[in-house]
């Protein structure tokens, strides 16, 4: 049986901010413990957003507000499509569109730090996009369908035939979760090289919208991790949840171990890793006719 249907999509729409916000707080708590600190409350992200909503809004221009709303709408759209069981290619393109809205809001600010952040963010998107698209192709080769609903109904978990894609996706998750590299991402650390990256010229309620969008995005990304595990057996659901937790912990660990990765290293290593993990896995699948077709 599959859980990917409209009720789940509506559940995502309502619950994702709470789940995403809680795990964002848990992330900071675990990070703090890894560094030997007490760390903030696990509900810190909610305190931050409620504070931001009460602040005065200092807008650079009105277009920026529109573009941030576009970012939120398309991130939510991506997640809803995914949990409704729609086409994986369309989902990934919707995610990219959301990313473009996010970049455009910073480029509309016409400020030096935002301009620098835009350049680096585009570089970053260039680094991770090949792996995202390869993942969609991998799912198609293995299950014969791009539809999330049908992928989750396969006889065996996709990860059995696509471990390389799984590792590759974990690798780009580091970038997508805005953990590393430190001189591009906008995490909650003393990242100060490009001030706050794409968020440099946002303030108050608009900044809060960006935070909520990231929560939606993160829940969706862990959904993709779960999709690697799900099959038509019911036991695959708890296993998928456990794997999501393990990946969550692993991402925090990588973030803390590689705290000072710069964008040059990110760019090179991501493409090399995409080729080693993703492309070789795809070649093996095609050459040995391991997939459905």
């Amino acid at each position: 049986m599959t859980f990917f249907s409209w009720p789940l999509a509506i559940g995502y729409l309502i619950l994702a901010p709470f789940i995403g916000g809680f795990f964002d707080g848990l992330d900071r708590k675990i990070s703090a413990r890894m560094q030997g600190r007490t760390g903030p409350s696990v509900f810190q992200s909610f305190y931050d957003v409620s504070k931001l909503l009460q602040k005065e809004s200092k807008m650079v221009n009105h277009l920026q507000q529109f573009l941030v709303c576009g970012f939120l709408v398309f991130v939510v759209f991506t997640g809803v499509l995914f949990f409704a069981g729609a086409d994986l290619l369309m989902i990934f393109f919707a995610l990219t569109l959301a990313g473009i809205f996010y970049v455009l809001q910073a480029s509309s600010a016409n400020a030096p730090f935002s301009a620098l952040a835009v350049q680096r963010e585009l570089m970053q998107m260039m680094a991770y996009e090949p792996m995202v698209l390869l993942t969609a192709v991998g799912f198609y080769v293995v299950t014969g369908s791009f539809a999330v609903r049908e992928i989750s109904l396969a006889d065996r978990s996709a990860i059995c035939l696509m471990p390389g894609f799984f590792l590759g996706f974990i690798f780009i998750m580091i970038i997508k979760l805005r953990k590393s590299p430190f001189d591009v991402s906008t995490g909650h650390h003393a990242h100060q090289e490009v001030v706050q990256g794409l968020n440099s010229d946002l303030s108050g309620p608009v900044m809060a919208l960006v935070e909520v969008s990231h929560w939606y995005e993160n829940v969706f990304l862990y959904g993709v991790i779960g999709l690697f595990i799900l099959n038509n057996q019911l036991w695959s659901v708890p296993v998928a949840l456990v794997v999501c937790f393990l990946v969550f912990f692993l991402e925090i660990l990588i973030d803390n171990v590689c705290a000072r990765v710069k964008w040059q290293l990110m760019f090179r290593s991501t493409w090399i890793f995409t080729i080693i993990a993703g492309v070789i896995n795809l070649l093996v699948l095609i050459l040995f006719h391991l997939g459905v077709k």
Binding site: A32, P40, Y47, S50, K58, H191
Partner: protein, 182 residues
């Protein structure tokens, strides 16, 4: 008890400081003191900041920078002067190239004395700043937030500064209490 803000984001600016206080400010974020347990984030962006932490005296070169940073911060906002130089000008008070403390340029809410200010008193100052932040947030909700005119202060700095000092005597004593308790 006043509702205490749980998410004070701090902007740290070094005026004409000797870096002694700056090292202590950074020490607040280390595992030893861990100011993040109060939700403090050391942000580099004035547009995200709630608390403006200034160290060192103010001179002609950094005067405009401090004013600009203050104006870029969205309301409600609080200024904390860290170290005796930021409070009054300290040993440089009478020198020709120092204008004096931070309050000669922007209104200061909390004074944290010390040379260098100890991390404990800096955290005390931030916590006191959080309380002021909440008062200002309530005032803002009721539309009562006084329009703080930066230009007025810079024109006759000393008089305004002394007025500010009187207003914030309570704040100062609290920050002092942290110091004396040791």
């Amino acid at each position: 008890m006043a509702k205490v803000s749980k998410s004070p984001w701090v902007l740290h600016y070094d005026g004409a400081s000797c870096n002694g206080c700056d090292i202590e400010v950074l020490a607040c974020l280390t595992p030893m003191y861990d100011a993040e347990r109060f939700g403090v984030i050391n942000t580099g962006d004035p547009k995200h900041a709630d608390i403006f932490l200034v160290t060192g005296g103010i001179n002609e070169q950094c005067k405009d920078v401090v004013k600009q940073l203050y104006e870029q911060m969205p309301n409600p906002k609080v200024v904390v002067a860290v170290g005796i130089c930021a409070c009054t000008g300290g040993v440089f008070k009478e020198t020709y190239n120092i204008l004096g403390g931070v309050d000669t340029v922007i209104p200061v809410d909390v004074y944290v004395p010390g040379c260098a200010a100890r991390p404990e008193s800096i955290i005390d100052g931030i916590v006191k700043g959080i309380a002021v932040l909440d008062q200002k947030r309530e005032a803002m909700k009721q539309g009562k937030l006084p329009e703080l005119n930066v230009e007025d202060i810079s024109e006759d700095g000393k008089e305004q500064a002394s007025a500010n000092e009187a207003q914030n005597a309570e704040a100062e004593t609290t920050a002092n209490a942290g110091e004396e308790s040791k």
